[in-house]
Symmetry: C2
Subunit: 245 residues, 2 copies
Amino acid sequence: MGKLDFAPIADTTRRAEIVALLRRAILTGQLKPGQKLNELRIAEQMRVSRAPLREAMRELVQEGLLTSIPYAGTFVVDVTAKDIDDAYSLNKVLDEFAIELTWPLRDQRFFEELDRRHEAVKQATRDLDTTRQIETALQLHGLIHEWADNSVMLETWQRLASRLQMYFALHQRARKEPVPAEDIHEIYVRLLKGTDMRAAQRHAREHIDLDFEELLAYARSLEQRDSKGADPDRPGLTRNRPESS
Amino acid sequence: MGKLDFAPIADTTRRAEIVALLRRAILTGQLKPGQKLNELRIAEQMRVSRAPLREAMRELVQEGLLTSIPYAGTFVVDVTAKDIDDAYSLNKVLDEFAIELTWPLRDQRFFEELDRRHEAVKQATRDLDTTRQIETALQLHGLIHEWADNSVMLETWQRLASRLQMYFALHQRARKEPVPAEDIHEIYVRLLKGTDMRAAQRHAREHIDLDFEELLAYARSLEQRDSKGADPDRPGLTRNRPESS
DNA sequence: TCTTGTTAGATTGTCGACAACCTGCTTTTC
DNA sequence: GAAAAGCAGGTTGTCGACAATCTAACAAGA
């Protein structure tokens, strides 16, 4: 028998492609938080029927990127400072656990992949491509979760990462200034290659601290001028929450 | 202005009801792991069109209770011993964190709710209603997550709890023997009311240990006779994995 | 006998149209 | 003039039918 094992072929349903398109639009900020998604308009633009579009939207609702209010519409999730804070603190706990699981599993391939992703971040930084920089930084960060060999945690991380990417993209887009040119991940990578697990865990916390504190401050400042509002395409306050009986 | 605030009315879409029905069927074991869901048949039984049914199924796929293979079908997730182990270890970490967050927020209402849920478990035990016993035990356990005031963690816990409930229901259903009559949650509740947080965290780990070890052993024993198979309505091995590009 | 090509049946994916519902404006009534 | 009733207009939820794809059985050829 041939010893090659082929990778499973990609699934080619419209639904899957729509999910990818919408997710990308949300994560890059083309679709802004609170904005309403008009099914008819989007379906026409994508040259697709509403059925697969709606199914795709249900997926993203469960993924936490959209919220749905029956008979009113589906909206991009609204980001509050507390959401970011919650995601941040849970992320710390997950990271600590991921490092613990990954630690004994580190091997040559791990270190190579670590360097590869680190390099991708540096490349994006050189290119001044902020969107890609966020994306690659999260991928670098996600390696320990992928390597930990715990499917439930990986899934949890991916959900978290989606939202984190959205938050950061929003932030970067707001302050127009260019990205920090220094390599803030240098120490993180070196510690993951080292022998002191506790040190790596400790740094993971503090390193993220830096990014997050700034993000949080920005989110809180937005919260202030919330009463001004009156944006079109905004969900009418909290009106009807999906039940999880 | 009136100071009453009313609870949001339940959303009355068919989709939501279908989700609830299907979830219940999976969690109680009416739909068995690996089983295929025939859309036409289910739609007819529920007197509903396929559109809302399919949307409901997409939600449950994202919730982790179903898996979908394009053009092949949607199946109840297959439970491996490793899945249970993964969920178990993540659950430990989450619990520890939840107790930490909840600890300073405990008040009279918390203790009352704790007792209420504890009582519900004892009632279900008296009734010899194993399904309800699992459900109430998880609700008791989930209180610390609901109280922690961290929306992201709560969401994570709910996803985890769904799967745990499914695992336990499967287990209970397999071994026909009646449920342990003693109150194994007595110590847990008392510790949550006490003053020693570390002790509560420690116990949470070990208390769950007991239940899980048995569950794991059962799952592993199932794994052995996996080659025998040949069940109808089974997904044809790993054929095509949904991508998360 | 084994492999390959074909075909029929069943199931999933997608479409266009209709019904239910919400929103804002107009009309009516006091 | 103000509040209630009623009427479009548009959007979401649902339906039934068609197209694309998979599975399994069968036939043809080596």
